[in-house]
């Protein structure tokens, strides 16, 4: 038995009285360490909101999220990130005043970011190593020839990969990706798929929201299906593919065919 790295425990979230996630009973699921979990569901099912609740961008109306046994109720988003959680956003986010390389370097947990270090100037020596590391990650996501570019010149797909790179450079213990293949061209998708498989085999924990089921069902080892903010089903990709409820609610006739 591997232990649960992430536990979502009876979480509910309402916006202005409307319950978006959790229904009446609350949403509960767990992510054992090393799992590659796919999170799927129709538009508006609450996938992105669930990510926001886990990463601290939003706070649950009730219920709790635990990361490695630690209750995140009081933690800031930045604290949660520093506990080893990485995430990307459905709409990619980048820092437009930084170059592509700097967008990745800024992601690294950096001791050079303290005032003390600025005073001593000790950050310079670490900067070279950091630059190399960021360069490697950018190579991995296929952006190595855009290193000195400004982010305004990147396509939507490239921005997504940049965001993945910024998280990878932090070596997160658990990585949440919100629709990483949306708008990404097929060759980059294949690259991304390989990266995720590699990360998985390195023992890293992944939670990936995807509408591209072809992509996800091939590489995930467990799937959670949400509908109306509630857990509809959970199982292996093959169990999910043949689950009547899931087919009816989400996969639709054309997938079954």
């Amino acid at each position: 038995m591997t232990r649960d790295l992430l536990i979502v425990d009876k979480v509910r979230k309402s916006f202005g009285g409307l319950i978006a996630v959790g229904g009446d009973a609350g949403l509960s699921f767990s992510v054992p360490e090393g799992t590659f979990l796919g999170l799927i569901g129709p538009n508006g099912a609450g996938k992105s909101t669930t990510f926001n609740l886990i990463s601290g961008v939003l706070k649950p109306t009730s219920g709790a999220v635990l990361l490695d046994g630690r209750d995140l109720s009081k933690a800031r988003a930045s604290d949660i990130a520093s506990y080893g959680l990485g995430r990307t956003f459905q709409t990619p986010r980048a820092f437009p005043s930084l170059t592509v390389l700097e967008n990745v370097m800024v992601g690294a947990d950096n001791q050079g970011e303290t005032l003390f270090s600025v005073l001593r100037g000790g950050w310079r020596s670490r900067e070279t190593a950091l630059r190399d590391k960021a360069g490697e990650v950018l190579e991995r996501v296929g952006l190595s020839d855009r290193i000195d570019d400004v982010v305004a010149n990147l396509s939507g797909g490239e921005l997504r990969m940049l965001e993945v790179a910024r998280q990878l450079v932090r070596d997160p213990r658990i990585l949440l990706l919100d629709e990483p293949t949306a708008g990404v061209d097929p060759s980059l998708q294949a690259k991304l798929s390989r990266i995720l498989v590699d990360l998985h085999s390195e023992g890293r924990t992944l939670v990936v929201v995807e509408h591209n089921l072809h992509f996800l069902l091939q590489i995930a080892d467990s799937i959670v299906v949400l509908q109306n903010g509630q857990l509809l089903s959970r199982g292996t990709p093959s169990e999910i593919k043949s689950d009547e409820k899931v087919i009816a609610a989400y996969l639709g006739a054309d997938h079954a065919a």
Partner: protein
Amino acid sequence: MNTISQIALTVVMFGSLFSVLTLSLNLQYARGGMINFGTVAYFATGAYAYAIVTQEPPHGLDQYLVGLDMPWWAGFIAAGLAAMAFAILTGWPTLRLRGEYLALTTFAFAEMLNSLLVNERGIGNGTVGLANVERPDANILGLSENVVYALAAFLLMLATAYAFRRLLASPYGRAVDAIRDDEVAAQAIGKNIARLRFQVFVISSMPIGFAGALYAMITTLVNPELFTAEVTFFVWIALVLGGERTILGAIIGTMALVGFQEAIRAIPFESVRAAEIAASAEDIVTGILFIVILRWQPFSALARRRQAA
């Protein structure tokens, strides 16, 4: 000829002095994303701290309560620390606020400080202010005092520019930029935005305090009328004039604005009436200039082009 060199000296002296404020504002706003509409308060804190630390204990008609009679350098250091302390006091409750709310609260804090200086005579004699502020003997190398103080202001400006440049060129500056660009994304990579913004706010107040001390030395007088919101607006206009984000832009903008005002003031007037008209014309032209520059941003376009090249 004499008047021209006189004007040039004044421009260097006050241009450099106020550049320190513009540079600090540049760090807070253009890099840190914080709108401080109370800049003058940190300047006033520095000036008063300097005066109080260096002046003699009260006697005769003095209403102020404290005069420490310490040397100028102690007053100078105290000015920087006092401005930082005031930044801690005002930044702590307000920095969580966004944009225009922060602008309003910082403005309110500055107004409060001003009325405190007016009404609490124990601080600095109320509206009368503190006259004959002590200053070091500046007759060095056979230079005139004005030249020495212009030089001191210039050096303070260079030191501030150097320190901020060093800060911004480091990973610290990178994190500050990231937070200004996108708070949510910055938090997602573990940046503690409250801490960083607070630090930037407090650090950038220190040079403003130093500038306040130097200002007190130059004018040898501090009173509440010298530290009104006009000073804040002046440095904001200078910052916008110079185009955001660049250190050089902040300096050029301030120098240009001070130069413009000094040039108008230097015009010899035949009558008091003409001088009054010129004074209001100065305000109007400054206003128009401000609008034109806001609209077309020629200097920031220039800076961007330089950056792109």
